[in-house]
Amino acid sequence: MLEVNNLKTWLDAGKTQVRAVDGVSFAINRNETFALLGESGCGKSMTALSIMRLLPEAGRIVAGSVNLDGQDLLELPEIAMRTVRGKRIAMIFQEPMTSLNPVLTVGRQIAETLYRHTALRGDAARVRVLELLDAVGIPDAQVRYHDYPFQFSGGMKQRVMIAIALACEPDLLIADEPTTALDVTIQAQVLELLRKLQREHGMAVLLITHDLGVVSEMAHRVAVMYAGEMVETAERGEFFANPRHPYTRKLFASLPGAVRRGEPLETMRGNVPPLDSDFVGCRFAGRCDFAWRRCGEEAPEWSEVAPGHAVRCHLVGSGAANSPLCKRGAGGDFSGANIRDTVEIPPNPPLQRGEFCSTRQPSSQEQSCVHRLALKGREAAPEQRERPVPLLDVCDLKIHFPIRKGLLKRVAGHVYAVDGVSLAIGCGRTLALVGESGCGKTTVGKGILQLIRPTGGSVRFAGEELTQLKGAALRARRADFQIVFQDPYSSLDPRMRIADILEEGMISLGTASPPAARQASVDSLLQQVGLSPESKYRYPHEFSGGQRQRVAIARALAVKPKLLVCDEPTSALDVSVQAQILNLLRGLQDDLGLAYLFITHNLAVVEYFAHEVAVMYLGRIVERGSVEEVMHAPRHPYTRALLSAVPVIETGSKREVIRLSGDLPSPSNPPRGCHFHPRCPHVMPVCRLNYPAATGFSATHSARCYLYGENRENGGGI
């Protein structure tokens, strides 16, 4: 139905031309989902915008054709194109927060499309809008018709966007990263909705994503883009079973997961080449481990390896027999083996671990809060008593933000962002704090670092109570715990040079005081995170996202901390860059004995990286345990739902996805009783009354749910 031929879109960038899309061809049939997969900056979105002819000012289509049912869209005058957009091709954007007009009711925004493209007016249009709202699963459509976008949650807004896109029953739906900004449970809902709507309307879907999991759940056919061109295209099953292009293989290999635990992830060296240059050979050659002479001289053509499966690579094409790989006898299988890791961390002398971290027998009072909780009501086994005191011991941490109203700013209520969280991290261990956005994970991190002063509870670091420390005493302690933020773009001051950024903490905390010593340690820090010491005179904007994150890590390491709070350190990065950062963090943990509090929503990373896991829901930890226990034998219904909602790459059996209805409730007005009960599939009457106590399953594993243990008996009694 849609056929794109040799599409070339160039962007004017001053004196040069950026070839954002450079000769892309594909076709999509009715009823089919075609996934365009690739990392950021490879031209996926530009392809979509070119099809819609919604390119930015600087962009222009220099060659190619886009045929929709035989009609070339690129030939149409703009006025005719307007009848195509919305009516025949509709688009959903990544960010639901910004793609709706905040001053119009959602009903009007959906009706706008109808008014433009159909003859429906007045009540008829209204009825249609209500139908659409129903179809995308928005409850109480009658009422919500008159609501404004701010009254909807992120997932709901994305549903409204889908409703707008579907209003005129388009032939083709372009979904540009439709779920990237959403949580996994919401993502599962939206993907399910898209699948359902596609079945009902028989439309074609062009799905643009960087998430292999989403591709595996949604796509019928897959195309991989790299540096402006397609490098591999295949049916879904074939693609996941037998990826052929080295880039695709690297993408798979750099995914973290339980399988690769304990070994470094595969990474790609270098960066995507700049797109404003002429390419002579293969675009991936510079980063490819199997590149040979021919790759640098001649651009590879498509070669079909199986029906419907084509690859642009000299290794599989004609003449591949001449490749050094084949001569070596490695055959077609070139994964694994001789893969160099780009993160070369020079061996460091092991850091002098703090006195505290040396083995030490705790007295019974020093027993950590978490263990006291876990052992409550049980006979404490002697070996458990002898566990060392954790480096960080957080007990019943509470952070409430007052909501002020009125002229005199009276406190009208509280946002219970963190409401009684207890956790403990030992030296050199990693605790992952998992949960959806808005559950308070980041606030916990900041509360531990005393960036936000807790309302209640205690934070003991190496035996010292942090919440009571003030001024100089707290500053003296700050060297021991540092933070790495999520967004490497906002976490480095754009007006400071890298050297100044790294020095800041050393100056402030008085470590390495003579300037020469500071410069020396700046150099060694940069080397430690895999950057060259010369880069210290540059400004952050000169670095890519991954490099900036390395700088952010180096900044935190500058004061020689024992604990690093990593607040979603990889969620803003591409998969291959994420792999580099995870390898770096792992290497640093081995070398320096760092403890990590790893805040994330990415469960694959948790499985790969963490020792222990705590699952958070609406300000409280609902389940905790070692990574095996929680990830493989989850007990709490929320943990189970969360785990099942993660899209996984699988070729075999269909797993059962536990669908959670609704969204995360507001933390300013949490539900009575168990916070999870409005969404819980196993809800019992008792759940609505009181918050359940912890039930231990093993020395480390516990959950707060009425389904288990004493709670169950209590629950049954009521």
């Binding site: 933070i483 976490s491 904007h541």
Partner: protein, 469 residues
């Protein structure tokens, strides 16, 4: 004993202080390579160089006009006590001597040889004639103005042009030699560098702008010896002279007001945005209150109070210039106090945003103190707003001065200022035939100053943004 008596007016003092601070900054920048970088970047931009040259010319006039002194009175009978003229002059006045000393009777048009108003002229024969009388100075050397003026103007223009050519080549030569010395290359190589624009600094733009300034200066000098190139005003003063003298007033109002306003706006704006809570509330209430009082009312009240004070303490101000100056200073202060709210509000908003940025939190996690965070992280990141709003305010302030002169609370009527000229033009434009040249002259000079300040600050902002290449 010095043949003159130095006079340091208040505004002069502040101007010198400001220049000293700039000098200190330059000294510091020259010693640090990374501080020098942005200025190097600035020197590579064409519009930056051109506007900087023009701004420097304005500043030079303003500075020369700020070196004040009083000459001794001629009539000195060898007494012990020297008496000085009550008239305060500046170095600039000496340089443009003839302009100041050649007043006509009343209005005359640019390049005119006759007054703009008919008068009764007494002819030698005792007859009376009502006609436009000849000017005392403007074109006085011409016997038959109607016949000779065109030729004289052409000749004078040629003369001025020739001088400009000589001076222009002199400047080029000086530049080439300087460049050769500095880069340690032969003058020939330096010349080809400049000629073909191969150096990273756009020397051709630089020379072009300097050349234009020289041409203007030479022509103005050649013509103003014989004519009033911008005409004369109601009391016969040369408008060109008034316009040049107004530069200092304009610069003073622009810079001193900013100097007064900046600490309020920066300190309070950043404090409100950074500390939030009750600090924010208090500052917001203050500026909302201040904003809701009409500014003109406050200014009028302050200026009138000052007037009363000056009248009751006349012994403190020995010259007219001192009185006018203290009024200018007060005007700057009161304008500063009433005009910080806008910038303060902008800075508060920006700081609120920056305070949430993760690099600020990272600094907090390092235990960096509030003051340092503000100085190192917040301030550099709001500087672009400060720069833009200062320059935008600059033109607004010059205009505000005009409006205040209109109300009667502007600078002293004896002080030359664009505001006073524009204010005078109100009546002149209503006159028949219309007198347009004071307004035009004030407009052209203000326009050039504000435009070059705008362009310059725009380039400065770009050069200081490390994200711009």
């Amino acid at each position: 004993m010095m043949p003159f008596k130095l006079v340091l007016l208040w505004t002069d003092g502040l101007l010198w202080l400001l220049l000293a601070l700039v000098g200190l900054y330059v000294w510091r920048v020259r010693r640090h390579e990374h501080l020098l970088q942005p200025w190097r970047r600035l020197s590579r931009s064409r519009s930056g160089v051109a506007s900087a040259v023009i701004l420097l010319a304005f500043v030079a006039v303003g500075v020369l006009d700020s070196l004040h002194f009083r000459l001794p009175l001629e009539k000195q009978a060898g007494g012990v006590v020297r008496h000085y003229s009550p008239e305060v002059l500046s170095v600039f006045d000496l340089l443009v001597g003839p302009l100041r000393k050649q007043p006509e009777k009343t209005y005359s048009a640019p390049f005119a040889t006759q007054l703009y108003a008919k008068e009764t002229i007494e002819l030698p024969g005792g007859r009376q004639l009502r006609d436009y009388p000849r000017l005392k100075y403007g074109g006085a050397h011409l016997a038959d103005p109607a016949g000779e003026q065109a030729g004289d103007i052409a000749a004078t223009a040629l003369e001025g042009g020739a001088w400009a050519l000589v001076a222009g080549w002199g400047a080029t030569l000086a530049l080439v030699l300087w460049l050769a010395r500095r880069r340690r290359i032969s003058p020939g190589a330096a010349w080809s560098l400049v000629r073909h624009g191969r150096d990273e600094i756009p020397w051709r733009t630089f020379l072009g702008t300097v050349g234009m300034l020289i041409l203007f200066a030479c022509l103005a000098a050649a013509f103003s010896a014989k004519y009033h190139i911008f005409g004369t005003d109601k009391v016969g003063q040369d408008v060109f002279y008034l316009t040049l003298k107004s530069i200092r007033t304009g610069l003073m109002i622009g810079t001193l007001t900013t100097l007064v306003m900046l600490p309020f706006a920066l300190l309070l704006g950043i404090m409100a945005g950074y500390f939030r809570g009750w600090v924010d509330d208090v500052i917001q209430y203050v500026y909302t209150t201040l904003n809701s009082i009409p500014g003109v009312l406050l200014i009028a009240a302050a200026v009138l109070i000052l007037q009363v004070y000056m009248d009751s303490n006349q012994e403190l101000f020995d010259t007219v210039a001192a009185r006018a100056d203290i009024r200018l200073l007060f005007l700057c202060i009161i304008l500063g106090i009433t005009s910080w709210t806008g910038l303060c509000r902008l800075l508060r908003g920006e700081t609120l945003k920056l305070g949430e940025m993760e690099f600020v939190q990272a600094a907090t996690a390092f235990g960096v103190g509030h003051f340092r965070i503000i100085a190192r992280h917040i301030l550099p990141n709001v500087m672009h707003i400060v720069l833009i709003s200062i320059v935008l305010d600059f033109s607004g302030l010059v205009l505000a001065e005009a409006v205040l002169s209109y109300v009667g609370v502007g600078v002293d009527p004896t002080m030359q200022s664009w505001g006073n000229m524009i204010n005078g033009a109100r009546l002149e434009m209503a006159r028949e035939p219309m007198v347009w040249w004071s307004l035009a002259a004030a407009f052209v000079f203000m326009f050039v100053l504000v435009l070059s300040a705008n362009l310059f600050s725009d380039r400065v902002r770009d050069a200081f943004d490390p994200r711009m290449k």
